[in-house]
């Protein structure tokens, strides 16, 4: 027994020393970021600008704080897993995974990462399907737990059908694309890379957010409550740098270069140009959660609860914390830079 006790005591001491429990730090040694990548280890949208221009590295260089980028192939579910295990501090991910993450964990929604995210349902080029109903009984590639899952779920609901009417096949990362191109599945949900499929004659679109703009997605920037509480000033500086990047990307004179940066994620420049044709990037990169974003998130929470994707509800107002964002906007004098979109997404000037 004595030996057992001594051994356990030794482990306890070693563990305490290694984990540094009880040692307070004024600054973290590293800021760990999680985000989603498709083909390459480069994120898109505002994070893509931050990552490729090294803005966070420059901001925190004088503090000797390292920036660690983690680009997850597993998208939202991988980000949630990393958050739950304390492996990342800041994350950007889509509406549904962020809702799930909040329902189960302690994270704050700091700012919007992307709004009006397009989604499309594609079928094989020789498919006879023209509507969602035509896909009944067919194999449809879905990434469960991602923003695409919410789009698909709402789409099926809107068509007056049930998810069980289709043979949903769960894919993550690039597996869905590979399965579709190998003609192993009949339909797949895609994003801005839809034009790559079409230009190569690999698919045709039977439905998309062009026909149903309210199905467009939203992505957010979140931080763990633990990190924000321990390092409020670091959190603020992170958000401020984030806003600067969003502003750079929103500036019309930087449009071409911003799209070029985003093309480094693996989505072709021509696809991005088609997707954002006549769409001001300021609308997409607007970091402020306005009525359009809030109503979308509220609707997402309600829908997820009804579909039992989340087990318990939560108050959106308790989740969204714009204190850091508002301070950054004020200091950068950008309070009225971005429009305030109403519930329908119509932009109006901020007062």
């Amino acid at each position: 027994m004595k030996t057992v006790f001594r051994a356990l005591l030794t482990i306890g001491v070693l563990t305490t020393l290694l984990s540094g429990l009880g040692l307070a730090e004024s600054k973290p040694k590293v800021i760990r970021i999680g985000c989603t990548g498709s083909n390459r280890p480069i994120p898109g949208n505002t994070f893509g600008i931050l990552n490729q221009l090294g803005m966070l590295e420059a901001e925190f260089k004088k503090d000797n704080i390292k920036i660690e980028w983690n680009v997850f192939k597993g998208a939202g579910p991988a980000s949630n897993e990393a958050l739950a295990n304390g492996a990342v501090d800041f994350v950007t991910f889509g509406d549904l995974p962020s809702i799930i993450g909040r329902a189960q964990g302690k994270i704050k929604f700091l700012a919007v990462h992307e709004t009006r995210r397009a989604a499309y349902t594609i079928v094989q080029p020789d498919s006879k399907a023209k509507t969602i109903a035509d896909l009944k009984g067919k194999k449809w590639g879905v990434s469960y737990g991602t923003a695409g899952h919410l789009y698909w779920s709402k789409l099926v609901d809107r068509a007056g059908l049930k998810e069980k009417d289709f043979k949903a096949v769960n894919f993550s990362g690039g597996d869905g694309k590979a399965a579709f191109l190998a003609k192993e599945i009949d339909a797949l949900n895609v994003g801005t890379d839809v034009y790559d499929y079409i230009s190569l004659g690999q698919a045709k679109v039977i439905y998309g957010t062009d026909q149903a703009p309210d199905l467009k997605g939203t992505a957010g920037l979140v931080v763990t409550e633990q990190f924000a509480k321990k390092y409020p000033e670091i959190t603020y500086r992170f958000v401020k740098t984030y806003v600067r990047a969003a502003k750079l990307g929103s500036d019309p004179k930087n449009r071409a270069k911003t799209l070029t940066l985003w093309s480094n994620t693996g989505t072709s420049l021509s696809s991005l140009k088609k997707e954002y044709n006549k769409v001001p990037l300021a609308l997409i990169l607007d970091p402020v959660p306005d009525e359009y974003v809030i109503s979308h998130l509220r609707d997402g929470i309600k829908f997820s609860k009804e579909k039992r994707i989340i087990r318990k509800d939560f108050d959106l107002n308790q989740w969204i914390d714009t204190s850091y964002l508002n301070r950054a906007l004020k200091e950068l004098k950008l309070e009225k830079y971005w429009p305030a979109s109403d519930v329908n997404g119509t932009p109006t000037a901020r007062r």
Partner: protein, 461 residues
């Protein structure tokens, strides 16, 4: 009328003030004049875009000559690739994955207790080479046919022996996480008894396995048919986490051990049976009870018992094993506890006559571990990176392992206390440091002590 006109004009001005203009000078609309500091920040931020391509008017069109040059280069590249594929690449007629697992070890023992597994000095404790793949892939429902063939070395003689030699088929669809899974595997494979015996070497925290696994021969492969599956799965899609309420294993096997141990045929002409059931807590990913499971295992077999001269006393003497286990595998802390009991027939002499005597043995194995790092977070390690990357992770642990070879003489037992530390520093590589204190108790007042230090470098591909 004038009042109506004024009101109309006022309304129009109000409307035009609310509309948002996405013009090139939109950034100046409604914003306060910038200070010098703000202008410097804007200028610095704008300079960051300086080296990014795009924005210029590249109106020069691609010429036919450019296109012909590109086609020619593509043809050259294709020929080079094909040549390399034909001459410099291993070919296979089916999907094939090659893997290997190697252990290089150093041990130092204080000596003393007989039977200690530690030999002072360096050694290559294990070499394994495996071939695994897919014979048929069912894209529709995932009813795949997979195979595995691997070789290993005997720990004592370094003789190369077959390890896994099996074929498996997914009876039920395996692509839908909402549905239960069911698989059948035929050939030489692990026996699904308890935790210790079913954990692969690369996932075991200790260098030396628990005593009961070798004593009760549960860590040996055997030849047979295994049916395993699960029931009532629950899914937390937000974390890509699937956990079935029940997992089950049923196996019919020879019970003579693996190929190469001298008994290819089923010596007693009777098949042994093995069953295992595991209950998992069906929770969301973030629930603290995630990773908690209870398991029970049972093994029934028969054995030929011979006397000292080799004459058969009983051709079908029964032998049994019972096991119960509880595991909590979570991050960062976890533990496992396993109880195993065996009933083995042997020969004794009573009144100058050889008779069968049953000896019962049992064991307790408890392991407590703590993980630092992201080694065990599945989604985290699947990252896109340009460099060769793997999270460095640390795992200190403690194990208590007690074996009582004859429960009718409980004062004789062997206890092994292990204090260990595992360092994971590459994708398939870890360094294991174990300190073992072995206490072999021969009677309540007499014990041998042995302290041993083992360092093992385990790597694979």
């Amino acid at each position: 009328m004038r009042l109506l006109l004024v009101q109309l004009l006022l309304l129009m001005s109000l409307f035009s003030a609310n509309s948002y203009t996405f013009a090139a000078d939109a950034e100046t609309e409604g914003t306060a004049p910038e200070s010098a500091e703000d202008q410097v920040q804007d200028s610095d931020d704008q300079k960051l875009f300086g080296t990014v391509a795009g924005g210029e008017d590249n109106s020069a069109a691609v010429t036919q000559e450019d296109l012909d040059g590109l086609k020619s280069e593509l043809n050259v590249l294709r020929e080079q690739w094909q040549r390399k594929l034909d001459k410099g690449t291993v070919q296979s007629t089916r999907n094939l994955g090659l893997s290997g697992n190697f252990q290089v070890r150093y041990g130092a023992s204080g000596g003393g207790t007989s039977g200690t597994p530690v030999t002072d000095g360096f050694g290559v404790s294990q070499v394994q080479l495996g071939f695994k793949g897919n014979l048929y892939r069912d894209y529709d429902q995932g009813k795949n046919i997979d195979y595995s063939f691997s070789l290993t070395t005997d720990k004592n003689s370094f003789t190369i022996l077959p390890n896994d030699v099996w074929l498996s088929y997914n009876i039920l669809p395996s692509l839908d996480p909402e549905k239960p899974y069911l698989k059948i595997t035929a050939g030489q494979q692990k026996k699904p008894f308890g935790l210790e015996a079913t954990t692969s070497d690369d996932k075991k925290p200790t260098v030396v396995g628990a005593q009961f696994a070798s004593f009760m021969k549960l860590n040996e492969r055997d030849i047979g048919i295994l049916v395993n599956g699960d029931l009532f799965p629950s899914n937390d899609y937000g974390f890509k986490y699937r956990v079935p309420l029940i997992e089950y294993n049923f196996m019919v096997l020879n019970g003579n051990g693996p190929i190469g141990t001298g008994n290819l045929a089923n010596a007693d002409n009777k098949e042994d049976l093995l069953a295992r059931i595991v209950l998992n807590v069906p929770t969301e990913y973030s629930n603290p009870l995630r990773g908690l499971s209870l398991g029970a295992s049972y093994y029934y077999g028969q054995k030929i018992v011979t006397d000292k001269s080799g004459a058969k006393i009983d051709s079908h003497a029964e032998r049994q094993r019972y096991g119960a286990d509880i595991a909590y595998v979570n991050t960062p802390i976890g533990f496992t506890y396993e109880y195993a009991r065996a009933d083995d027939p042997g020969a004794i002499t009573v009144n100058k006559k050889s008779v069968v005597n049953h000896v019962e043995s049992d064991s307790h194995t408890f392991t407590l571990f703590y993980n630092f790092g992201e080694q065990f977070i599945k989604g985290y390690v699947q990252q896109d990176r340009y460099d060769d990357w793997w999270p460095v992770s640390y795992q200190p642990f403690f194990r208590f392992d007690k074996l009582t070879p004859d429960t009718s003489a409980r004062t004789t037992h062997t206890d092994v206390y292990t204090l260990g530390f595992n360092l994971f520093f590459a994708e398939t590589t870890k360094l294991q440091l174990n300190y073992n204190r072995t206490i072999a108790v021969a009677s309540s007042s007499y014990a041998y002590y042995d302290d041993a230090f083992i360092a093992q470098f385990q790597f694979g591909f």
